[in-house]
Every structure is written in structure tokens, then in C-alpha cells.
Symmetry: C2
Subunit: 192 residues, 2 copies
DNA sequence: ATGTATATTGTCAATATTGAAAATCTATTT
DNA sequence: AAATAGATTTTCAATATTGACAATATACAT
């Protein structure tokens, strides 16, 4: 019975802005002023909608974990019956398809993890969950291969993927990106 | 004809401390206070020996570039005649041998590169120089392989290497490290 | 139109960070 | 011992950042 709340949308906007800042300046380098500038809001509004710095980080990490889980679930479920690995690698390495910012945010969160033990656990889980999904996919495609080989290839593809998105900010990385994709495919095919 | 200068050593100590901070808090998250605390000096001494924040970053980047070049030159020159690739992979992925902090510093500098165009160029050069050395080594070991294949493998190994050191701060990464090393070897052997 | 819950803006205090210079201390040379 | 170059400490000013609360404006229900 009063003015309608914009808390939900505003919170998303604030977290979007926060994410952009974190991807660029890191967790420790992000100030409320910068977030406010990015979001086109005032610092006091940031505080009003989400809270202080700690609350902001909690909210960001929460959303990041939820989204990651959802996104990779959707991705792996949407793979076709044929050429699943190939399609997956396309999605991971083709510019435009891959979500570079998520990986950059993950990198920043991992860097900050030393000062936030809960965050360290979360990012470890995040890493191993992604590698685990890759393993699962590879194990289905190559059922006769030993687990160790599958894990090695999954870890390799994940590493190449994380790395190439981290380097993206340097610009002129299309050549390296293509080569990285080739490497990921070579790794996958080494199982066949 | 006066008190002897400690500028040289002190500068190294300050840059060491700065490096530790950058690896942990990122470029934008590092304050002079933190550096001073890490170095066991006062903030004003930091300023006395190296200068203000910009001068510090310049000095750090300068030293990082110089050291990287030197270290990788030494590394590649020290490889034995036989099993060069194998030895190289051991060096890159065995804990204790590899220099994890350098990679973390590089990651932080890459993240900050958007705000420092010169830095972006430097880190691009750094990346491609390392990949280039790998290519050269692989080309010598597998002289009949096309350049594209060599580049793909070099990019893959470099990516896996950078990534595994970035994840190190999360702890309990020995399993993933072993798997990553396996992947790097698999990639190299794919050329044979 | 009126009440009310929320949005929005404004203000203040406390602390952190940086920059710069002056003052003092110390080791070496002569 | 005196002079001197450099190390170290001290001090001050300016700005940035954060936290918290007060005041005002606005949209909706009744």
C-alpha cells in the first residue's frame, strides 16, 4: 500500500556495476564511488539498496555462484547429440559466445580469496564443478578411457579456457584465441 | 665522501614488498601503507627511495620485464640436450620449481593494463615472448610440423601453465596441478 | 486528499591515503 | 673533531573513502 519498490531491479543494476568494477580494478581496488559512477547512481543509493562493502561482496559472490551454476547447466543441457565436444569447445572459445566477463570476475574473486576464507572455498568449488562437468562430458564421449586421462584433458581445457579470457583485456588476442581453441580440440581428440 | 647509500638494496626490498601486495591485492588495491608494512619500512621511506605511486609502478614493471626476460633465457638455455620438452614441463609444473608469484604478478598487471596503455603493450609482449620461446623449443623438437600446430601447442601449454599458478592461492590444488601437467605433456606429445 | 512506504538527496563525522617538505640522526671522509 | 651526504623520523595539508543518519520527494492505496 505504498510506493512500489525497485529494490530487485536496482540491486541487479548495482551488482552489474560492481561486477564491471571488480573485473577491472579487482575486489580490493573497487570503491563505492566507482560502483556508483558505473551504476549511474549515488553512493548513498548503493548503500540503501544493497548495504555496505561486505554486504555488496556477499551479494556479488552469491549471485555469481548461482548464475554460474545455472549457466553451465543450461550450456551442457543444450549440447546436441552429435558433436557434443566440438560444440562445447566452440562455445567456450568463439568470441561472442563465451562470457569473458564472468571469467574475469572469477579471476578477481580468486585473487581476493586469501582474505576471505569462505570465498576461497566457494571458488575452489566453482573451479572443480566446471572441471567436473567437463570430465563428465568427456567420459560420456570416451567411455573406455581411464579416469586420470579424462581428468587431465578436462583440467587442460579448463585452464586454456580460463587463461584466454583473462588475456582478452590486452587486446589483439584473436590469434592466440584461435590457437588456444586448436589446443583444446587437440587435447580432446587425444582421447579418441 | 659521506654516508653510504642503501638505495639499491632498499629499492629491491620495496619492490619485493610491492610485488607481494600486487599479487594479493592487485595494482589498484595496493596502498603505500600496505607496501610499507610488508617492507618493514615507513611510508615516507618508500617515497624517499623509489618515489610516489606512479614511480613505484613504473619501477615494478621495469624490473618485472627485465627479470622475466632473464629468467626465461636462463631456463631455456639450461635445458639438457635430451628430453628438453619433458624437462621444461617439469620445471613449469612441479611445485617448488615454478615461480608462482611471478605469474600472479603478471595476472595482476594484465588486469590493470586497461588503465595503463604502455602496460598493456608490455604484457602483450611478455605473453607472446613466452609463447614464442615455447614455439621455438617445440619447433626444434618437431621440425616437420606445420607452424600452426606448433603455435596451438605452445599456446595451450602456456595457458595451462598460467592458469594453474593463478589458482594456486585457493589451496589444495596439487591434484589439479598434476592433471594440468599431464595435459601439457599430452599436448606436446600430440606433435610426435 | 491523505497516509504511508519507499525512493532520493543531503549532511556530517571518522578514518585512510597520498604528497610534500622540514628536521633530526648517522656513518663516513678528511 | 668537523663537514657532509645520505638515512630516518616528524610533521602538516589535502583529498578519498566509508559509515551512518536526517530530510525531502514521490508513487500508490484507500
Amino acid at each position: 500500500m505504498a510506493r512500489p519498490s525497485r529494490k530487485a531491479e536496482r540491486t541487479e543494476e548495482v551488482l552489474d556495476a560492481y561486477e564491471r568494477c571488480v573485473a577491472r580494478y579487482g575486489v580490493e581496488g573497487t570503491t563505492l564511488e566507482r560502483i556508483a559512477e558505473q551504476a549511474g547512481l549515488t553512493r548513498t543509493l548503493i548503500r540503501h539498496y544493497v548495504g555496505n562493502k561486505d554486504a555488496l561482496l556477499d551479494a556479488l559472490v552469491e549471485r555469481f555462484a548461482r548464475r554460474s551454476k545455472h549457466d553451465s547447466a543450461v550450456l551442457f543441457e543444450s549440447l546436441p547429440e552429435k558433436d557434443r565436444i566440438r560444440t562445447l569447445v566452440d562455445w567456450l572459445f568463439d568470441p561472442g559466445l563465451s562470457n569473458t566477463r564472468s571469467i574475469r570476475v572469477a579471476g578477481a574473486l580468486i585473487t581476493a580469496a586469501k582474505d576471505y576464507p569462505r570465498l576461497a572455498r566457494r571458488m575452489r568449488d566453482w573451479t572443480f564443478e566446471f572441471v567436473g562437468l567437463l570430465e563428465q562430458e568427456l567420459a560420456t564421449a570416451y567411455p573406455h578411457k581411464p579416469k586420470d586421462d579424462i581428468l587431465a584433458v578436462a583440467a587442460g581445457i579448463a585452464g586454456i579456457y580460463f587463461n584466454v579470457d583473462s588475456l582478452e583485456s590486452l587486446g589483439r588476442m584473436s590469434g592466440l584465441r584461435r590457437a588456444s581453441k586448436e589446443a583444446a580440440l587437440t587435447l580432446a581428440e587425444s582421447l579418441g
